[in-house]
Structures are given as structure tokens and as C-alpha cells.
Point group: C2
Chain length 341, copies 2
């Protein structure tokens, strides 16, 4: 018996069940009785309930990420933990790695700890193949699931993210508008945001210049869309091999700053002048952008704002308020020295 079952049995929304549990006064006596009857009959005692009664509560939220040492994830965890603390909640941190099986295992682990909610950090938790998202929907039957940087529809699932598709679209368009003709796209994750960014890249090429009909027809050929998940040196070597095969490109749009750093190393090794011979755009606007020479133009995906919103939403849910299922913020290009525009 979970909050989802209670809402079904009582014929009310999850938010209403939550309101009753938390003693919120905006519930009619009739509805309250209906919900409490179901709870009594089926013996539902979630943490939220326990908290309402002042019993055995953990005031703890599970934070699950693939790898907390990733600079982007590390920042997210910092912001989330700070905000949770401000609301007197603790953060139970787990790192699952990138495999579906271990993600499921860790979600179940956090459920068994009776955390008040689970926050999934990073868009790799949401797969393009929706069957692979069932474990998230299942978890949401027990506790609210919050997702940072990806969107997934479903009851009791709350998403905070940035418009990665539009940001990549704009970055690519800026390159086209400033005279670039052969743009290479590098990505390292087939996650939700990975697909969104790639979509934005394709949008820019299709919409803007209808390239497939003119002489540059091969610009959206697969050669110009490269998946490479690896270290800085591996990214560099991958580009070296494309370059040696004769692939021509005058700009590289990437889905992650680490890819852009690899692209910079490639340019240096091949004596390409940046941004004259080659423009490069990173993603995340991480500290890596300031470490490179020249410094990297990158996309700031407003991570702090997204994380604060995630916790604000969560607090609303736990207090039985109406909370938005999806909140989307706008990203921003931070221009530095690897682009001409």
C-alpha cells in the first residue's frame, strides 16, 4: 500500500492524500474521512504520515546520481544539499553508475530507507526508451520522485530542467549566422538531455538553411554527428582520426565541456587557430571553461536555479500544496574566446 494506492482507493488525487496526511486545512471533512478510512483499512504508514504524527520520521531525502565526482553533478549535489538543509532535511547520497540495473537497485535501496522523497540528479536517469523508465514510475508510487535536468511524465514525478534543446539550437544558429558551414556535433550521453541537445542541433541545421537541398548536403550526414564517451585524450584522438580521414569542419558544438576541452587539444595538436580556423562551444559552463587557453565559450544551464527550484517544488509536495510537475528554465550562452560571434 503506497500513497498512489491510497489515492486510487479513495478516489482523490495524491496531492489530496498528502494534504490529509499533513493536516492541511484545505480539505473537506468528507474527503478527509474518506482518505483516513482507506489508510486505516489498508494500514498505510509512509514516512510522510509518520512525520505528520511526529513519529519515527527521518526528514531525509535520498539523492541519487550516477557519479558525484562529475563536476556538473558535484555542483548540483552541493546546491540541493544546501537547500534541503535550509528546510531541515538531510540528504542521503548514493552513486549508482550509469547502468539501468544499478540505477534500479539504488532506487530500491533508497525506498527501503523510507526516505521522504528521491531526487534523481542528471538526465541519464531518463532513457529515450520509455520501458527503461518504469523503475522511476514504480518508485513514484511510494514517494515523490524529483528529477534534475530531465523530463518524465507521470504521477508524483516532478522535473526541474533547463531548455537544452533551445540552447543548442541557438548556439548552432549563432555559428551558422557568423559564417560557419561545416559544423561537427560531439555528444557523450544518449540521455534525455543528450537527445534534447542533439535535437536542437538538428533543428538549427534544418530550419535555418535547409541544407540538404544545397551543395553542402552532407553537412547533416552522420559523419557530422559523433558519439564519444571518454577521457579528454580519447576525445582528442577520436577527432584526430576523423580529421585524418579528411572530414572538414569549421566549428564543433559539444554536449559537455569535457568534450570541448578534448576538441581544443585536437586543435592545438593540428595547429588549427581558434577561433579563426575552428570555433568550439562547450556545455555546462563549468570551471573547466576558465582553465583552458583560449577560454571556452559554453552554455550555462542555470544549475543553481534548477536545483533550488527542485527543492522548492519538493517542499510544496511534502506540504500537500499544488506543485508544478515540470519547470523549465532558459539556458544562456556565455561567450569567451573559442567563438567569433
Amino acid at each position: 500500500m503506497n500513497i498512489y494506492d491510497v489515492s486510487k482507493k479513495a478516489g482523490v488525487s495524491i496531492a489530496t492524500v498528502s494534504r490529509v496526511i499533513n493536516g492541511n486545512s484545505y480539505v473537506s471533512e468528507k474527503t478527509r474521512k474518506k482518505v483516513l478510512d482507506v489508510i486505516e483499512e489498508y494500514g498505510y504508514t509512509p514516512n510522510v504520515f509518520a512525520r505528520g504524527l511526529g513519529l519515527n520520521t527521518m526528514n531525509t531525502v535520498g539523492i541519487l546520481c550516477a557519479d558525484s565526482s562529475d563536476p556538473y553533478i558535484a555542483r548540483a549535489i552541493f546546491y540541493l544539499q544546501q537547500e534541503l538543509r535550509r528546510h531541515n532535511y538531510d540528504a542521503l547520497l548514493c552513486c549508482s553508475g550509469y547502468e539501468l540495473e544499478t540505477k534500479q537497485k539504488y532506487v530500491n535501496l533508497l525506498l527501503s530507507k523510507r526516505t521522504d522523497a528521491i531526487i534523481l540528479v542528471g538526465s541519464n536517469f531518463v532513457a529515450a526508451d520509455d520501458k527503461k523508465n518504469q523503475y522511476i514510475r514504480d518508485a513514484a508510487k511510494s514517494v515523490p520522485v524529483l528529477i534534475v535536468n530531465a523530463a518524465l511524465d507521470g504521477p508524483n514525478i516532478y522535473c526541474s530542467l533547463c531548455n537544452d534543446r533551445h540552447a543548442t539550437y541557438q548556439a548552432t544558429k549563432s555559428l551558422l549566422n557568423s559564417g560557419h558551414e561545416k559544423i561537427l556535433y560531439l555528444y557523450n550521453a544518449k540521455s534525455y538531455s543528450g537527445m534534447e541537445k542533439l535535437g536542437g542541433f538538428l533543428d538549427a541545421l534544418n530550419i535555418d538553411s535547409n541544407i540538404s537541398d544545397n551543395n553542402n548536403g552532407n553537412i547533416i550526414n552522420n559523419d557530422y554527428i559523433q558519439y564519444i564517451h571518454g577521457t579528454i585524450d580519447e576525445v582528442k584522438e577520436h577527432l584526430n582520426s576523423l580529421y585524418k580521414k579528411g572530414l572538414k569542419f569549421d566549428a564543433i558544438v559539444t554536449a559537455d565541456d569535457i568534450l570541448a576541452i578534448g576538441a581544443l587539444k585536437f586543435a592545438k595538436e593540428n595547429r588549427l587557430s581558434i577561433p579563426d580556423d575552428l570555433s568550439i562551444i562547450g556545455y555546462n559552463n563549468s570551471i573547466l571553461c576558465q582553465c583552458s587557453d583560449p577560454e571556452l565559450t559554453s552554455i550555462d544551464n542555470k544549475l543553481e536555479t534548477v536545483c533550488i527550484n527542485c527543492i522548492t517544488t519538493l517542499m510544496g509536495v511534502l506540504q500537500g500544496k499544488e506543485a508544478p510537475l515540470k519547470t523549465v528554465f532558459s539556458a544562456e550562452i556565455v561567450k569567451r574566446d573559442t567563438t567569433r560571434f
Copy 2:
């Protein structure tokens, strides 16, 4: 009543109390009775005890750091969490910031959560002024306190660290041996390891060349030891102002890669050739070293090894085994392109 008090009242070591609590058989019946009598008389029921009895245990360890978004700290948290998980322990994560007051507050918070132990990550938790370390000793009266990257003597305090002093000594000596004469030292933390690294720098200058007696007498003048806590740009500006005042230096040894990146930016702005005009050495061997151009020579302080050792020690303590109070690993210089040696 805490484990420390039990050990005092019973006249046995903390490890012995722990052994009794965990049902370890290497305790005489007489000692066991003495400890259990004290526990019964004074009503001591710590988590460790509860766990031994299979009651209401959390199997949770509190991890406290100043700022989990710092790349060094982020990696440490990742390794610690992974190792804890392998032993079926959860990690409760808190970020305290750098002020003594908030550090104390968070240690007390973690104690109130009845975590099985507290891990302090980062040497900023241990102050040169020992009065400021009393909150750690106090916490260790209730639960084992583990410290990553700093040393503090005291009962129930277990430290895992790297020999930062010797590493900085060696790095500085390598510079002297390869002909550098005016070496600037940059540091951004007056923490335990901050003072150790500075000590190593001074050791190298004193021992190696007895510099204060020769013409280079001013090399260990205060001008050559600069404290600067700030962003990459602030570090660069600080060096610019020293340079404009006429300070001469042919090498910079730093206590953190971020300082070394600032030094690189300074060199570029002033058209100093690296490593011909200026050698630079970072500390932590973080991913920033590979992002810069030229890539940074840095000191690898074996963070993964230190973190795994921390958890191995902790598990020993919780199982009532003899655990080392202090484990010191050796750091290693990773030579890249910012030094001539």
C-alpha cells in the same frame, strides 16, 4: 553517557567497549561483565549497540565537508560513498562551509542523527590553533571521527592522509635542483594540510641551500609566501600586482591546482614563456591540470587510496578491531608541461 564515558567507568579501552557491544569473542568474561554492568547502570544505547542487538540501526555514516562542489572534495565524497556502500552503509552528506561556528553546528547535527560515525573531509576541519579543534574531540566522545587529509591526535579520532609536507618539499627541491632561484609560494588555506605544505616549502629552502646566509637571502622573505583565497581571476590579479611592484620569481609552487591555473593566466597576460621564464606546480592533480595549456605539473595526493583506507579503518573500528589512529600515504609528482625538470 557515551562510549568514552563507558570506557572510563569500566576502566577499559574504547575498542574493548566496542568489542563487547559487537559481541566480539576476544574479550574475557570478566571484562565483558564489567562493561555490560556500566552500560546497564547508566543506560548507554548508542547506535553501535543498537546495531549489535539488531535494533533500530541506521547503518549510516555522516560525511561532512566544507563545500562538495570543490573538485577535490567531490572526488573524495565519491570514493567514500562507494566504499561505504560496499559495506552496506549509507552516507548522510552535509556541507558546512569554512567557518568554525557552522562546522560545529553541523557536527552536532550529525551527532543528533545518531550516525554510526562522522567523516570530516578536507584538512580545513583541523586548525593550527588547537582550541579550535575541541569540537572534534568532543564529537569523538560519542562516535568514531574519521578525518580525510588531516591529522589530529585524540581518542576515537582516526586520520587518513597523504604526506603533503614531503611532497611540497620534493617539488620545491626539484625546482631548486633544476636551477630556479626565486620561488614564489601560493596558498589558499591555513588548514592542517595548508600548513604542512608550507612547511615542506620552507624545509626545502632551508635545508637544501641555507639560503638566508647567501646573496639570495631574501628568497624566504614574506614577499615570496603569498596567501590568496579567491577565483582564478583574483589569483591572476594578485600576481599581476606583485609583478608590477617588481617582485622577481622564476617558479611558483602552489597548494592547489586552481592557484596554479591563476598563475598560468598571469604568465600568459604578461607574455612569460612557460616553463622557460616561469615554472608552475599545482596540487591535487585534478582534471583542471589536463584542461590548461600547457598542461600542469601537479602533485597527486592519492585521494582514492586515502578514502578507501578511511573506510577500511572505520569498518575495523565499528567491528571492535584494533584500528590505526593515523595512516599516511606518500604523494607523487605528476610531471607535465609547466616545469623543466
